[in-house]
Amino acid sequence: MEKGHIEINGVTKIFRRTDGTDTLTALDNIQLDIKAGEFIAFVGASGCGKSTLLRMIAGLETPTIGKILSDGEEITSTSEKRGLVFQDHALFPWLTVWDNVRFGLKSTGKKDKTELAEHLLDLVELGNFKKSYPYQLSGGMAQRVALVRALANEPDVLLLDEPLGALDAFTRMNIQDALIDLWKERKNTMILITHDVDEAIYLAQRVIVMSPRPGRIVDDIPIEMSYPRNRSHSAFVRYRNVILEKLNYAHEESIADFSI
């Protein structure tokens, strides 16, 4: 059986305000099935709970109601099967690029299995930077190292929390292509959080549109285009219009009836 199947079963997340007086429903009854090896993207305005959902899949937070299953097993804590990349690359600044990339291998007792790490580092064209420290890298380079660090551990699922949000437009496009290459190579499940609609359409096989306060799924749009995708292709533009319309719609009538 292929690994990396994620099932989100009626998940609701409620936060209590710090003074304890009020609660905030971040996610309301989310139902979703993510197939193994699928590239899925979540788009939505800030406050729609997409990051919270990702953190719950990672095992960093638990749902208030409902369950998330990873290959049939309920997620209760973090696992090396589900890698995570943040917007701030979060590379360990005290380690060289190479030690960062091998960090997970040391933790999971696969210290000597460095062929993949080496190969991935070459794939993102950073093979010559093994001995550099993170402060010596540009933002785009650091983010590529963060991707390799997560993938070197051979996770079944890679969780991407707006990984390209802090980068300039050109770097972002380069890394988007690198992401597709890495995904095709590893064939793992990719779950991307973004507020860039173009990025979602360019990368994902399926785009989940979410609405804020409380976070709900507005639509589930399969992107039926072959890779590499052309940003000015008519189909691409059509998808963009559909999604933007959904987001606007969600903005104006967010209280109205949404059924999933």
Binding site: A58, G59, L60, T78, S79, E80, R82, G83, L84, F86, D88, A90, F92, P93, W94, L95, T96, F103, G104, K106, S107, T108, K131, S132, Y133, P134, Y135, Q136, R149, A150, N153, P155, L159
Partner: protein
């Protein structure tokens, strides 16, 4: 590799900058770089050829030392014509060293040559050097005692403070128990406890080491605690998703990430340790340089006293330099630490 590139680039910009300077400007800079030689020679002439006041005597020792340091500068000056990096360095330092030579000359003139500053309170440098040389066995012994006490107390305090601080930063339960003690004990200068320790401690060495340790414990605890509290939570989260367990996170994430802040506490702790050391040795411990100073003061041997003070100064500077070298190595991953 990258670092070499940077320094080359830096050198090139400097070369460009240098081209804008006129020939006269360049010659002037070369002359300024030679100033310490001139000042050193002036001092030497002052020392050798102006007659001493009254009964004041002096030896050749100081003259040799002056010749040595002036000579070192002269050699560096010659090499600097072929080594641009060295030239930049000594060109920058030259005015400072020239002034130091002149100040020494002025002091020598005011004491040995004219007696404007009266004996025995202001012995001239040659006299200080000779008393250090004649009492070297006792001074070496005292210095070793001081160092032993300093490092025993310092490392004890650093280890205790590091464990407390990292523990308190890591676990709210430990923080609950440590925080009140940090607040209360940290507010009181450790020298306050000195009289109690002198009475209670079975060994003065142990008691003083404890006091030094206590003084070091406080800043190291606080800095370690702050260091842990300020760690980017994404580091933990990434480490956990990479399959790292609690102990691994402690040793491979928490401690290295807290190190830059911890070093602030280590430096501060060293200065507290030096203060406490001197206080302890002057108040009760019957060995070490602090004791030596007090003892010589009793005999009105002021030149020996000054000698010991200069030695203390050298030791503390060396100890702090050592600490900085360690810091530079441990934090080599930080931007600007090694560039």
């Amino acid at each position: 590799m990258a670092q070499q590139k940077v320094s080359l680039k830096e050198l090139n910009t400097l070369e460009l900058e240098r081209k804008n300077v006129s020939t006269a400007g360049k010659v002037l800079q070369r002359l300024i770089t030679a100033l310490p030689i001139v000042a050193g020679l002036l001092h030497l002439i002052e020392y050798l050829f102006i007659p001493n006041k009254g009964m004041n005597t002096c030896t050749a020792t100081y003259a040799y030392i002056l010749i040595f340091f002036t000579g070192v500068w002269a050699v560096l000056y010659i090499i600097s014509f072929f080594n641009y990096a060295l030239y930049r360095k000594i060109n920058h330092d030259a005015p400072l060293y020239a002034v130091i030579f002149l100040l020494l000359a002025a002091y020598d003139y005011a004491t040995l040559k004219t007696g404007k500053l009266i004996m025995p309170y202001f012995p001239w440098v040659d006299k200080i050097i000779n008393s250090v040389i004649s009492d070297r066995a006792k001074l070496l012994d005292s210095a070793l005692h001081s160092l032993k006490l300093l490092f025993t107390g310092y490392f004890g305090g650093v280890i205790a403070g590091f464990i407390c601080g990292i523990g308190a930063g890591w676990s709210p339960k430990i923080r609950y128990w440590i925080n009140p003690f940090v607040k209360i004990l940290g507010a009181i200068p450790t020298t306050t406890y000195m009289p109690i320790i002198m009475i209670l401690a079975s060994s003065l060495f142990g008691g003083s080491a404890f006091l030094i340790g206590l003084g070091v414990w406080f800043p190291v605890t606080v800095s370690s605690l702050t260091g842990v509290s300020n760690i980017n939570s994404h580091y933990y989260e990434v480490a956990r998703t990479l399959g790292t367990k609690d102990i691994g996170i402690l040793f491979r994430v928490v401690i290295p990430a807290a190190m830059p802040t911890v070093f602030g506490g280590l430096t501060q702790g060293m200065s507290v340790a030096c203060i406490t050391l001197m206080a302890a040795e002057m108040m009760g411990v019957e060995s070490g340089l602090g004791w030596y100073i007090n003892w010589q003061k009793g005999w009105a041997e002021f030149s020996k006293m000054y000698g010991a003070i200069i030695i203390i100064c050298i030791i503390f500077v060396l100890v702090n330099t050592l600490l900085n070298v360690i810091k530079g190595y441990v934090l080599r991953w930080q931007k600007g630490v090694n560039s």
